[in-house]
Protein backbone atom coordinates (compact mmCIF):
# COMPACT_ATOMS: atom_id res chain seq x y z
CA UNK A 1 0.00 0.00 0.00
CA UNK A 2 1.28 3.47 -0.79
CA UNK A 3 1.89 5.86 2.07
CA UNK A 4 -1.16 7.85 3.03
CA UNK A 5 -0.13 11.12 1.41
CA UNK A 6 1.05 9.38 -1.76
CA UNK A 7 -2.27 7.60 -2.03
CA UNK A 8 -4.15 10.82 -1.42
CA UNK A 9 -2.20 12.51 -4.22
CA UNK A 10 -2.72 9.58 -6.59
CA UNK A 11 -6.44 9.63 -5.95
CA UNK A 12 -6.76 13.39 -6.22
CA UNK A 13 -5.06 13.33 -9.62
CA UNK A 14 -7.29 10.45 -10.74
CA UNK A 15 -10.46 12.27 -9.74
CA UNK A 16 -9.19 15.51 -11.22
CA UNK A 17 -8.78 13.79 -14.59
CA UNK A 18 -12.15 12.05 -14.33
CA UNK A 19 -13.74 15.37 -13.46
CA UNK A 20 -12.24 16.93 -16.61
CA UNK A 21 -13.72 14.23 -18.83
CA UNK A 22 -17.04 14.75 -17.10
CA UNK A 23 -16.85 18.51 -17.63
CA UNK A 24 -16.15 17.93 -21.32
CA UNK A 25 -19.11 15.58 -21.59
CA UNK A 26 -21.28 18.28 -20.11
CA UNK A 27 -19.95 20.83 -22.59
CA UNK A 28 -18.34 22.94 -19.89
CA UNK A 29 -14.78 22.79 -21.23
CA UNK A 30 -13.43 24.33 -24.39
CA UNK A 31 -10.80 22.82 -26.66
CA UNK A 32 -9.10 19.59 -25.75
CA UNK A 33 -7.23 17.87 -22.96
CA UNK A 34 -5.13 14.76 -22.47
CA UNK A 35 -5.62 12.93 -19.23
CA UNK A 36 -3.00 10.79 -17.50
CA UNK A 37 -5.42 8.13 -16.26
CA UNK A 38 -3.38 5.07 -15.34
CA UNK A 39 -0.07 6.97 -15.31
CA UNK A 40 -0.60 9.07 -12.17
CA UNK A 41 1.90 7.03 -10.17
CA UNK A 42 4.87 8.08 -12.31
CA UNK A 43 5.14 11.72 -11.17
CA UNK A 44 3.90 10.83 -7.69
CA UNK A 45 6.73 8.32 -7.34
CA UNK A 46 9.33 10.74 -8.68
CA UNK A 47 8.07 13.65 -6.57
CA UNK A 48 10.30 13.30 -3.49
CA UNK A 49 13.33 12.45 -5.65
CA UNK A 50 13.14 15.89 -7.26
CA UNK A 51 14.27 19.00 -5.45
CA UNK A 52 12.18 22.14 -5.39
CA UNK A 53 14.85 23.93 -7.42
CA UNK A 54 15.15 21.23 -10.07
CA UNK A 55 13.50 22.06 -13.37
CA UNK A 56 10.68 19.92 -14.72
CA UNK A 57 9.55 19.86 -18.34
CA UNK A 58 6.23 18.36 -19.17
CA UNK A 59 4.21 17.56 -22.24
CA UNK A 60 0.63 17.40 -23.53
CA UNK A 61 -0.27 14.68 -21.00
CA UNK A 62 1.03 16.69 -18.12
CA UNK A 63 -1.68 17.30 -15.51
CA UNK A 64 -0.23 14.65 -13.22
CA UNK A 65 3.27 16.10 -13.58
CA UNK A 66 2.02 19.52 -12.56
CA UNK A 67 -0.26 18.38 -9.76
CA UNK A 68 2.30 16.03 -8.25
CA UNK A 69 4.80 18.87 -8.12
CA UNK A 70 2.59 21.70 -6.86
CA UNK A 71 -0.72 20.17 -5.66
CA UNK A 72 -2.32 23.22 -7.23
CA UNK A 73 -5.67 21.72 -8.24
CA UNK A 74 -7.48 25.05 -8.25
CA UNK A 75 -4.87 26.74 -10.44
CA UNK A 76 -4.80 23.98 -13.04
CA UNK A 77 -8.56 23.58 -13.22
CA UNK A 78 -9.02 27.33 -13.51
CA UNK A 79 -6.44 27.35 -16.30
CA UNK A 80 -8.23 24.60 -18.19
CA UNK A 81 -11.64 26.22 -17.63
CA UNK A 82 -10.40 29.73 -18.52
CA UNK A 83 -11.45 31.00 -15.10
CA UNK A 84 -9.80 33.53 -12.85
CA UNK A 85 -6.79 32.22 -10.95
CA UNK A 86 -5.52 29.91 -13.68
CA UNK A 87 -1.80 29.13 -13.73
CA UNK A 88 -1.33 31.03 -16.97
CA UNK A 89 -4.38 33.27 -17.16
CA UNK A 90 -6.15 30.91 -19.53
CA UNK A 91 -3.68 31.63 -22.35
CA UNK A 92 -1.75 28.39 -22.13
CA UNK A 93 -4.52 25.96 -21.24
CA UNK A 94 -4.06 22.29 -20.58
CA UNK A 95 -0.71 21.79 -22.28
CA UNK A 96 1.17 25.10 -21.93
CA UNK A 97 1.90 25.66 -18.27
CA UNK A 98 4.65 27.67 -16.70
CA UNK A 99 5.73 28.27 -13.16
CA UNK A 100 9.22 28.92 -11.99
CA UNK A 101 11.13 25.64 -12.58
CA UNK A 102 8.21 24.07 -14.41
CA UNK A 103 7.22 24.32 -18.05
CA UNK A 104 5.10 22.29 -20.42
CA UNK A 105 4.81 22.60 -24.17
CA UNK A 106 2.46 21.14 -26.72
CA UNK A 107 5.00 20.13 -29.36
CA UNK A 108 6.48 16.64 -29.24
CA UNK A 109 10.21 16.49 -28.55
CA UNK A 110 10.60 20.25 -28.45
CA UNK A 111 11.24 20.36 -24.72
CA UNK A 112 14.31 18.14 -24.77
CA UNK A 113 16.75 20.65 -26.32
CA UNK A 114 15.30 23.32 -24.04
CA UNK A 115 15.72 21.04 -21.03
CA UNK A 116 19.30 20.39 -22.18
CA UNK A 117 19.85 24.16 -22.18
CA UNK A 118 18.50 24.47 -18.67
CA UNK A 119 20.66 21.51 -17.67
CA UNK A 120 23.67 23.35 -19.10
CA UNK A 121 22.72 26.29 -16.89
CA UNK A 122 22.40 23.97 -13.87
CA UNK A 123 25.52 21.93 -14.55
CA UNK A 124 27.72 21.61 -11.49
CA UNK A 125 25.05 22.89 -9.09
CA UNK A 126 23.69 19.48 -8.08
CA UNK A 127 20.36 20.41 -9.60
CA UNK A 128 18.89 18.70 -12.63
CA UNK A 129 16.42 19.11 -15.47
CA UNK A 130 13.79 16.39 -15.72
CA UNK A 131 11.82 16.07 -18.95
CA UNK A 132 8.80 13.84 -19.36
CA UNK A 133 8.24 12.41 -22.83
CA UNK A 134 6.23 9.53 -24.26
CA UNK A 135 7.05 6.56 -26.46
CA UNK A 136 5.68 8.46 -29.46
CA UNK A 137 8.06 11.36 -28.82
CA UNK A 138 10.93 9.19 -30.05
CA UNK A 139 9.75 9.85 -33.58
CA UNK A 140 11.08 13.40 -33.30
CA UNK A 141 14.64 14.23 -34.34
CA UNK A 142 14.93 16.84 -31.60
CA UNK A 143 15.09 14.00 -29.05
CA UNK A 144 18.25 12.60 -30.60
CA UNK A 145 19.94 15.96 -31.04
CA UNK A 146 19.31 16.69 -27.37
CA UNK A 147 20.52 13.29 -26.14
CA UNK A 148 23.70 13.69 -28.16
CA UNK A 149 24.38 17.08 -26.55
CA UNK A 150 23.47 15.83 -23.07
CA UNK A 151 25.95 12.97 -23.35
CA UNK A 152 28.69 15.06 -24.97
CA UNK A 153 28.43 17.88 -22.46
CA UNK A 154 27.65 15.68 -19.44
CA UNK A 155 24.47 17.53 -18.65
CA UNK A 156 22.30 16.81 -15.60
CA UNK A 157 19.34 15.82 -17.76
CA UNK A 158 16.91 13.07 -16.80
CA UNK A 159 14.54 11.99 -19.54
CA UNK A 160 11.51 10.24 -18.11
CA UNK A 161 9.73 8.18 -20.73
CA UNK A 162 6.16 7.23 -20.03
CA UNK A 163 5.94 4.34 -22.43
CA UNK A 164 2.23 3.65 -22.39
CA UNK A 165 2.31 1.51 -25.50
CA UNK A 166 0.33 3.86 -27.68
CA UNK A 167 0.91 7.16 -29.46
CA UNK A 168 -2.55 8.69 -29.82
CA UNK A 169 -4.05 5.76 -31.77
CA UNK A 170 -0.87 4.13 -33.06
CA UNK A 171 0.52 1.17 -31.11
CA UNK A 172 4.17 1.60 -30.18
CA UNK A 173 5.25 -1.42 -32.20
CA UNK A 174 3.92 0.29 -35.31
CA UNK A 175 5.82 3.52 -34.77
CA UNK A 176 9.04 2.60 -32.98
CA UNK A 177 11.71 0.35 -34.49
CA UNK A 178 14.27 -1.08 -32.10
CA UNK A 179 14.01 -0.14 -28.46
CA UNK A 180 14.28 2.84 -26.17
CA UNK A 181 17.09 1.14 -24.24
CA UNK A 182 18.96 0.66 -27.50
CA UNK A 183 18.57 4.33 -28.28
CA UNK A 184 19.98 5.34 -24.91
CA UNK A 185 22.85 2.90 -25.32
CA UNK A 186 23.72 4.43 -28.68
CA UNK A 187 24.54 7.67 -26.90
CA UNK A 188 26.28 5.97 -23.98
CA UNK A 189 23.47 7.15 -21.74
CA UNK A 190 22.24 5.08 -18.82
CA UNK A 191 18.82 3.51 -19.34
CA UNK A 192 16.72 2.44 -16.38
CA UNK A 193 13.60 0.37 -17.00
CA UNK A 194 10.78 0.64 -14.48
CA UNK A 195 7.97 -1.88 -14.69
CA UNK A 196 6.61 -1.55 -11.17
CA UNK A 197 3.64 0.60 -10.31
CA UNK A 198 4.43 0.47 -6.60
CA UNK A 199 5.54 3.88 -5.44
CA UNK A 200 8.16 2.85 -2.87
CA UNK A 201 9.65 0.21 -5.15
CA UNK A 202 10.02 2.78 -7.90
CA UNK A 203 11.73 5.28 -5.62
CA UNK A 204 14.20 2.64 -4.47
CA UNK A 205 14.79 1.64 -8.08
CA UNK A 206 15.59 5.03 -9.49
CA UNK A 207 17.09 6.96 -6.56
CA UNK A 208 20.61 6.04 -7.55
CA UNK A 209 20.01 7.06 -11.15
CA UNK A 210 18.62 10.43 -10.09
CA UNK A 211 21.67 11.00 -7.88
CA UNK A 212 23.98 10.16 -10.80
CA UNK A 213 22.14 12.59 -13.09
CA UNK A 214 22.89 15.36 -10.60
CA UNK A 215 26.60 14.75 -11.11
CA UNK A 216 26.34 15.18 -14.88
CA UNK A 217 25.48 11.69 -16.01
CA UNK A 218 22.31 12.03 -18.07
CA UNK A 219 19.85 9.16 -17.98
CA UNK A 220 16.74 7.82 -19.63
CA UNK A 221 14.25 6.37 -17.16
CA UNK A 222 11.63 4.36 -19.01
CA UNK A 223 8.38 3.55 -17.27
CA UNK A 224 6.37 0.75 -18.82
CA UNK A 225 2.94 2.14 -18.14
CA UNK A 226 -0.61 1.98 -19.43
CA UNK A 227 -2.98 4.63 -20.62
CA UNK A 228 -6.32 3.68 -19.15
CA UNK A 229 -8.23 6.57 -20.72
CA UNK A 230 -8.56 7.91 -24.25
CA UNK A 231 -5.88 9.97 -25.99
CA UNK A 232 -7.98 13.08 -25.46
CA UNK A 233 -11.76 12.83 -25.14
CA UNK A 234 -13.67 9.77 -26.29
CA UNK A 235 -11.23 8.99 -29.08
CA UNK A 236 -10.13 5.55 -27.98
CA UNK A 237 -10.18 3.05 -30.84
CA UNK A 238 -8.45 0.21 -28.99
CA UNK A 239 -10.27 -3.11 -28.88
CA UNK A 240 -11.78 -4.54 -25.70
CA UNK A 241 -8.89 -6.91 -25.12
CA UNK A 242 -6.27 -4.18 -25.29
CA UNK A 243 -8.29 -1.95 -23.01
CA UNK A 244 -8.76 -4.80 -20.53
CA UNK A 245 -4.99 -5.30 -20.48
CA UNK A 246 -4.43 -1.62 -19.76
CA UNK A 247 -7.00 -1.74 -16.94
CA UNK A 248 -5.37 -4.84 -15.51
CA UNK A 249 -2.26 -2.75 -14.86
CA UNK A 250 -4.19 0.14 -13.36
CA UNK A 251 -3.28 0.94 -9.76
CA UNK A 252 -6.71 2.40 -9.04
CA UNK A 253 -9.21 -0.52 -8.68
CA UNK A 254 -7.47 -1.68 -5.52
CA UNK A 255 -8.44 1.58 -3.85
CA UNK A 256 -11.74 2.26 -5.55
CA UNK A 257 -14.60 2.98 -3.18
CA UNK A 258 -12.39 3.08 -0.10
CA UNK A 259 -12.45 5.91 2.38
CA UNK A 260 -9.48 7.70 0.80
CA UNK A 261 -11.07 7.37 -2.62
CA UNK A 262 -14.33 8.85 -1.45
CA UNK A 263 -12.54 11.69 0.28
CA UNK A 264 -10.52 12.50 -2.85
CA UNK A 265 -13.61 12.39 -5.04
CA UNK A 266 -15.43 14.75 -2.70
CA UNK A 267 -12.45 17.10 -2.53
CA UNK A 268 -12.23 17.34 -6.31
CA UNK A 269 -15.98 17.86 -6.62
CA UNK A 270 -15.68 20.70 -4.17
CA UNK A 271 -12.82 22.24 -6.20
CA UNK A 272 -14.82 21.88 -9.41
CA UNK A 273 -17.68 23.71 -7.73
CA UNK A 274 -15.43 26.49 -6.45
CA UNK A 275 -13.60 27.04 -9.71
CA UNK A 276 -16.77 26.81 -11.83
CA UNK A 277 -18.22 29.65 -9.78
CA UNK A 278 -15.30 31.93 -10.63
CA UNK A 279 -15.59 34.57 -13.37
CA UNK A 280 -13.73 34.18 -16.66
CA UNK A 281 -10.02 34.97 -16.66
Amino acid sequence: MPAEDDLELLLLIRHFELALLDLFDRGELNGTTHTCLGQEYVPVALGPLLREDDHVFSNHRGHGHYLARFRDFHGLLAEIMGRRGGVCGGVGGSQHLYRETYLSTGIQGQSLPVAAGVALHLKGSGRLACAYIGDGTWGEGAVYEALNLAALWELPLMVVVENNGIAQSTPTEQQLAGSISGRAAAFGIEHRLVTSTVIDEIRDDVAETVAAVRTGRPAVVEFVTHRVGPHSKGDDTRDAETLALARKHDWYPLHEGGQADQAARARIQQIVGEVSARPCA
Binding site: G89, V91, T105, P113, V114, G117, L120, A146, N148, L149
Partner: protein
Amino acid sequence: MRVVENLNLALHGLLADDPRAYLLGEDVTDPYGGAFKATRGLSTRFPGRVLSTPISEGAITGVAGGLALAGDTAVVEIMFGDFVALAFDQLCNFASKSVSMYGRPLPLRLIVRAPMGGGRGYGPTHSQSLHKHFIGLPGLSLYEMSPFHDNTLVLRSMLSRGEPGILFEDKVLYTRRMHEADPIFRVRLDGELAVVDLDDAPECVVIAPGGVAHRAMAAMRTLLMEQELSCRLLVPSRLYPLDVDALLPYLGDAVVVAEESTAGGTWGSEVAHQLHQRLWGRLRRPVAVAHSRDGVIPAALHLEREVLLNEETIGTAVLEVLRG
Protein backbone atom coordinates in the same frame (compact mmCIF):
# COMPACT_ATOMS: atom_id res chain seq x y z
CA MET B 1 37.12 48.54 -39.60
CA ARG B 2 35.34 45.84 -41.51
CA VAL B 3 31.77 44.93 -40.65
CA VAL B 4 32.72 41.44 -39.46
CA GLU B 5 35.31 42.97 -37.13
CA ASN B 6 32.71 45.32 -35.75
CA LEU B 7 30.41 42.35 -35.17
CA ASN B 8 33.22 40.36 -33.57
CA LEU B 9 33.97 43.28 -31.27
CA ALA B 10 30.31 43.51 -30.34
CA LEU B 11 30.22 39.82 -29.44
CA HIS B 12 33.40 40.22 -27.38
CA GLY B 13 31.75 43.11 -25.56
CA LEU B 14 28.55 41.22 -24.95
CA LEU B 15 30.35 38.25 -23.42
CA ALA B 16 32.67 40.50 -21.40
CA ASP B 17 29.89 42.65 -19.98
CA ASP B 18 27.52 39.79 -19.21
CA PRO B 19 29.06 36.90 -17.27
CA ARG B 20 25.88 34.90 -17.93
CA ALA B 21 26.12 35.20 -21.71
CA TYR B 22 26.76 32.15 -23.89
CA LEU B 23 27.47 31.81 -27.59
CA LEU B 24 26.72 28.54 -29.36
CA GLY B 25 27.13 27.42 -32.93
CA GLU B 26 28.81 25.08 -35.32
CA ASP B 27 32.60 25.52 -35.61
CA VAL B 28 32.54 28.78 -33.65
CA THR B 29 35.54 28.05 -31.43
CA ASP B 30 39.16 28.95 -32.13
CA PRO B 31 41.23 28.48 -34.13
CA TYR B 32 38.45 28.25 -36.73
CA GLY B 33 36.35 31.05 -35.24
CA GLY B 34 33.20 30.48 -37.28
CA ALA B 35 32.63 30.01 -41.00
CA PHE B 36 32.72 33.79 -41.49
CA LYS B 37 35.14 34.49 -38.61
CA ALA B 38 32.60 36.50 -36.62
CA THR B 39 33.40 34.54 -33.46
CA ARG B 40 37.18 34.66 -33.73
CA GLY B 41 38.92 34.84 -30.35
CA LEU B 42 35.77 34.40 -28.31
CA SER B 43 36.32 30.82 -27.14
CA THR B 44 39.89 31.61 -26.11
CA ARG B 45 38.78 34.58 -24.07
CA PHE B 46 35.58 33.08 -22.68
CA PRO B 47 36.17 29.35 -22.31
CA GLY B 48 33.10 27.38 -21.29
CA ARG B 49 30.72 30.06 -22.56
CA VAL B 50 31.52 29.81 -26.26
CA LEU B 51 30.63 26.34 -27.42
CA SER B 52 31.10 24.57 -30.72
CA THR B 53 28.16 22.26 -31.18
CA PRO B 54 27.20 19.23 -33.23
CA ILE B 55 25.40 19.94 -36.50
CA SER B 56 22.04 20.34 -34.81
CA GLU B 57 20.49 23.75 -35.52
CA GLY B 58 17.21 22.80 -33.86
CA ALA B 59 18.87 21.61 -30.67
CA ILE B 60 21.32 24.49 -30.52
CA THR B 61 18.46 26.95 -30.71
CA GLY B 62 16.53 24.93 -28.15
CA VAL B 63 19.50 24.85 -25.79
CA ALA B 64 19.82 28.61 -26.18
CA GLY B 65 16.11 28.91 -25.40
CA GLY B 66 16.69 26.85 -22.27
CA LEU B 67 19.59 29.04 -21.19
CA ALA B 68 17.45 32.12 -21.73
CA LEU B 69 14.60 30.50 -19.81
CA ALA B 70 16.98 30.00 -16.89
CA GLY B 71 17.90 33.69 -16.99
CA ASP B 72 21.07 33.58 -19.07
CA THR B 73 21.80 35.44 -22.31
CA ALA B 74 22.27 33.23 -25.34
CA VAL B 75 23.55 33.96 -28.82
CA VAL B 76 23.28 31.30 -31.51
CA GLU B 77 25.26 31.39 -34.73
CA ILE B 78 23.55 29.55 -37.56
CA MET B 79 26.40 28.87 -39.96
CA PHE B 80 24.42 29.61 -43.10
CA GLY B 81 21.14 31.33 -42.36
CA ASP B 82 19.39 28.93 -44.70
CA PHE B 83 19.81 26.31 -41.97
CA VAL B 84 17.62 28.34 -39.61
CA ALA B 85 14.76 26.42 -41.24
CA LEU B 86 15.93 23.52 -39.06
CA ALA B 87 15.36 25.69 -35.98
CA PHE B 88 11.94 26.95 -37.02
CA ASP B 89 10.03 24.98 -34.40
CA GLN B 90 12.21 26.24 -31.57
CA LEU B 91 11.76 29.83 -32.78
CA CYS B 92 8.09 29.71 -33.77
CA ASN B 93 6.67 27.30 -31.22
CA PHE B 94 8.97 27.68 -28.27
CA ALA B 95 11.06 30.83 -27.90
CA SER B 96 8.72 33.42 -29.38
CA LYS B 97 5.60 31.81 -27.90
CA SER B 98 7.08 31.51 -24.42
CA VAL B 99 7.36 35.27 -24.14
CA SER B 100 3.59 35.51 -23.80
CA MET B 101 1.81 32.15 -23.92
CA TYR B 102 2.18 31.53 -20.23
CA GLY B 103 -0.18 34.37 -19.43
CA ARG B 104 2.45 36.83 -18.26
CA PRO B 105 5.62 38.27 -19.77
CA LEU B 106 8.52 35.82 -19.67
CA PRO B 107 11.50 37.79 -20.96
CA LEU B 108 14.03 35.77 -22.96
CA ARG B 109 17.46 37.12 -23.85
CA LEU B 110 18.07 35.16 -27.03
CA ILE B 111 19.66 36.20 -30.30
CA VAL B 112 19.91 33.96 -33.34
CA ARG B 113 22.44 35.20 -35.88
CA ALA B 114 21.69 34.14 -39.43
CA PRO B 115 24.16 34.89 -42.26
CA MET B 116 22.03 35.37 -45.35
CA GLY B 117 22.11 36.33 -48.97
CA GLY B 118 23.73 35.40 -52.25
CA GLY B 119 26.38 36.85 -54.48
CA ARG B 120 28.99 34.32 -53.51
CA GLY B 121 28.00 31.40 -55.71
CA TYR B 122 27.04 29.07 -52.87
CA GLY B 123 23.92 27.88 -54.66
CA PRO B 124 20.23 27.41 -53.86
CA THR B 125 20.44 26.28 -50.20
CA HIS B 126 23.27 28.56 -49.06
CA SER B 127 22.29 31.89 -50.59
CA GLN B 128 18.75 32.72 -49.55
CA SER B 129 17.24 35.60 -47.63
CA LEU B 130 14.60 33.88 -45.54
CA HIS B 131 13.30 36.88 -43.59
CA LYS B 132 9.77 36.45 -44.93
CA HIS B 133 9.27 33.19 -43.09
CA PHE B 134 9.76 34.85 -39.72
CA ILE B 135 7.65 37.97 -40.21
CA GLY B 136 4.58 38.23 -38.03
CA LEU B 137 5.47 35.76 -35.32
CA PRO B 138 4.34 37.41 -32.10
CA GLY B 139 7.29 37.69 -29.74
CA LEU B 140 10.02 37.49 -32.38
CA SER B 141 11.89 40.57 -33.61
CA LEU B 142 13.88 40.69 -36.79
CA TYR B 143 16.98 42.82 -37.23
CA GLU B 144 19.48 43.13 -40.05
CA MET B 145 23.15 43.95 -39.82
CA SER B 146 24.08 47.14 -41.63
CA PRO B 147 27.22 49.09 -42.48
CA PHE B 148 25.76 52.09 -40.64
CA HIS B 149 24.75 50.46 -37.37
CA ASP B 150 27.29 49.65 -34.70
CA ASN B 151 26.64 46.02 -33.80
CA THR B 152 27.26 46.63 -30.12
CA LEU B 153 24.21 48.87 -30.11
CA VAL B 154 22.26 46.47 -32.31
CA LEU B 155 22.83 43.53 -29.95
CA ARG B 156 21.97 45.73 -27.00
CA SER B 157 18.75 46.87 -28.65
CA MET B 158 17.78 43.29 -29.46
CA LEU B 159 18.33 42.09 -25.91
CA SER B 160 16.50 45.05 -24.43
CA ARG B 161 13.23 43.94 -26.04
CA GLY B 162 12.81 40.97 -23.72
CA GLU B 163 11.95 38.68 -26.60
CA PRO B 164 14.02 36.51 -28.94
CA GLY B 165 15.34 38.08 -32.09
CA ILE B 166 16.99 37.05 -35.32
CA LEU B 167 19.90 39.11 -36.61
CA PHE B 168 20.08 38.63 -40.36
CA GLU B 169 23.59 39.25 -41.65
CA ASP B 170 24.12 39.68 -45.37
CA LYS B 171 27.29 37.75 -46.08
CA VAL B 172 28.60 40.27 -48.61
CA LEU B 173 28.70 42.88 -45.84
CA TYR B 174 31.23 41.07 -43.67
CA THR B 175 34.22 42.20 -45.69
CA ARG B 176 32.91 45.72 -46.37
CA ARG B 177 34.10 48.63 -44.28
CA MET B 178 31.84 50.08 -41.63
CA HIS B 179 30.20 53.36 -42.66
CA GLU B 180 31.47 52.94 -46.21
CA ALA B 181 29.40 55.14 -48.51
CA ASP B 182 29.82 57.09 -51.70
CA PRO B 183 31.19 60.48 -50.57
CA ILE B 184 28.55 62.31 -52.58
CA PHE B 185 26.01 61.21 -49.94
CA ARG B 186 25.59 62.40 -46.42
CA VAL B 187 24.97 59.62 -43.90
CA ARG B 188 23.40 60.10 -40.51
CA LEU B 189 21.63 58.11 -37.83
CA ASP B 190 18.30 59.11 -36.39
CA GLY B 191 17.81 56.70 -33.51
CA GLU B 192 18.00 53.26 -35.08
CA LEU B 193 17.30 54.54 -38.60
CA ALA B 194 20.16 55.28 -40.99
CA VAL B 195 19.41 58.08 -43.43
CA VAL B 196 21.49 58.47 -46.59
CA ASP B 197 20.77 61.32 -49.01
CA LEU B 198 22.01 64.33 -51.00
CA ASP B 199 19.62 66.99 -49.87
CA ASP B 200 16.39 67.63 -48.00
CA ALA B 201 14.09 67.26 -50.99
CA PRO B 202 14.59 63.80 -52.49
CA GLU B 203 12.25 62.80 -55.28
CA CYS B 204 12.11 59.20 -54.18
CA VAL B 205 12.88 57.33 -50.97
CA VAL B 206 14.28 53.80 -50.97
CA ILE B 207 13.81 51.70 -47.85
CA ALA B 208 16.18 48.75 -47.60
CA PRO B 209 17.77 46.42 -45.04
CA GLY B 210 21.50 46.79 -44.39
CA GLY B 211 22.57 44.11 -46.84
CA VAL B 212 21.04 46.00 -49.75
CA ALA B 213 22.41 49.43 -48.76
CA HIS B 214 25.35 49.41 -51.15
CA ARG B 215 23.24 48.34 -54.11
CA ALA B 216 20.72 51.04 -53.25
CA MET B 217 23.44 53.68 -53.02
CA ALA B 218 24.86 52.54 -56.36
CA ALA B 219 21.40 52.86 -57.91
CA MET B 220 20.99 56.31 -56.34
CA ARG B 221 24.31 57.45 -57.81
CA THR B 222 23.35 56.27 -61.28
CA LEU B 223 19.93 57.93 -61.03
CA LEU B 224 21.63 61.16 -60.05
CA MET B 225 24.24 61.05 -62.78
CA GLU B 226 22.01 59.83 -65.58
CA GLN B 227 18.57 61.14 -64.64
CA GLU B 228 19.40 64.00 -62.28
CA LEU B 229 17.16 62.36 -59.71
CA SER B 230 17.83 62.84 -56.02
CA CYS B 231 16.94 59.86 -53.83
CA ARG B 232 17.13 59.09 -50.14
CA LEU B 233 17.94 55.72 -48.60
CA LEU B 234 16.48 54.64 -45.27
CA VAL B 235 18.04 51.64 -43.53
CA PRO B 236 16.16 50.49 -40.42
CA SER B 237 18.05 48.23 -38.04
CA ARG B 238 14.91 46.47 -36.89
CA LEU B 239 12.90 45.12 -39.80
CA TYR B 240 10.04 43.67 -37.78
CA PRO B 241 8.11 44.94 -36.02
CA LEU B 242 8.91 47.99 -38.11
CA ASP B 243 8.85 51.42 -36.51
CA VAL B 244 6.86 53.13 -39.25
CA ASP B 245 6.66 56.37 -37.27
CA ALA B 246 10.43 56.67 -37.44
CA LEU B 247 10.27 56.51 -41.25
CA LEU B 248 7.45 58.98 -41.82
CA PRO B 249 9.39 62.26 -41.45
CA TYR B 250 11.77 61.10 -44.19
CA LEU B 251 9.17 59.99 -46.73
CA GLY B 252 7.72 61.94 -49.62
CA ASP B 253 5.25 60.90 -52.29
CA ALA B 254 7.36 58.18 -53.91
CA VAL B 255 8.67 55.12 -52.07
CA VAL B 256 10.47 51.92 -53.09
CA VAL B 257 11.19 49.04 -50.73
CA ALA B 258 14.18 46.98 -51.85
CA GLU B 259 15.37 43.64 -50.50
CA GLU B 260 17.14 40.50 -51.69
CA SER B 261 14.37 38.01 -50.93
CA THR B 262 12.94 36.21 -53.93
CA ALA B 263 9.42 37.23 -54.98
CA GLY B 264 6.30 36.43 -53.02
CA GLY B 265 5.22 37.23 -49.47
CA THR B 266 8.14 39.56 -48.96
CA TRP B 267 9.14 41.93 -46.18
CA GLY B 268 8.70 44.71 -48.72
CA SER B 269 5.06 43.90 -49.28
CA GLU B 270 4.49 44.07 -45.51
CA VAL B 271 6.23 47.45 -45.37
CA ALA B 272 4.29 48.66 -48.41
CA HIS B 273 1.00 47.69 -46.78
CA GLN B 274 1.87 49.58 -43.61
CA LEU B 275 2.89 52.65 -45.59
CA HIS B 276 -0.27 52.54 -47.67
CA GLN B 277 -2.33 52.63 -44.51
CA ARG B 278 -0.49 55.70 -43.31
CA LEU B 279 0.29 57.58 -46.54
CA TRP B 280 -2.30 56.55 -49.13
CA GLY B 281 -3.50 60.07 -49.84
CA ARG B 282 0.02 61.42 -50.08
CA LEU B 283 1.62 58.91 -52.42
CA ARG B 284 1.71 59.64 -56.14
CA ARG B 285 1.71 55.88 -56.83
CA PRO B 286 1.56 52.75 -54.67
CA VAL B 287 4.83 51.87 -52.94
CA ALA B 288 6.96 49.81 -55.32
CA VAL B 289 8.71 46.66 -54.17
CA ALA B 290 12.06 45.56 -55.60
CA HIS B 291 13.34 42.07 -54.86
CA SER B 292 15.03 39.09 -56.43
CA ARG B 293 13.20 37.08 -59.07
CA ASP B 294 10.84 34.23 -58.34
CA GLY B 295 13.17 31.25 -58.44
CA VAL B 296 15.92 29.36 -56.72
CA ILE B 297 19.30 31.07 -56.53
CA PRO B 298 21.65 29.29 -58.94
CA ALA B 299 25.29 28.55 -58.17
CA ALA B 300 26.82 29.66 -61.51
CA LEU B 301 27.80 33.32 -61.40
CA HIS B 302 25.98 34.38 -64.58
CA LEU B 303 22.81 32.52 -63.57
CA GLU B 304 22.89 33.82 -60.01
CA ARG B 305 23.16 37.39 -61.35
CA GLU B 306 19.99 36.92 -63.35
CA VAL B 307 18.01 36.10 -60.22
CA LEU B 308 19.33 38.36 -57.48
CA LEU B 309 18.26 41.92 -56.84
CA ASN B 310 20.87 44.36 -58.09
CA GLU B 311 21.28 48.10 -58.49
CA GLU B 312 19.44 48.03 -61.83
CA THR B 313 16.41 46.36 -60.20
CA ILE B 314 16.28 49.17 -57.67
CA GLY B 315 16.84 51.89 -60.28
CA THR B 316 14.05 50.53 -62.46
CA ALA B 317 11.68 50.43 -59.49
CA VAL B 318 12.49 54.06 -58.66
CA LEU B 319 11.78 55.17 -62.22
CA GLU B 320 8.55 53.20 -62.29
CA VAL B 321 7.27 54.74 -59.10
CA LEU B 322 8.20 58.21 -60.31
CA ARG B 323 7.09 57.95 -63.92
CA GLY B 324 4.81 54.95 -64.17
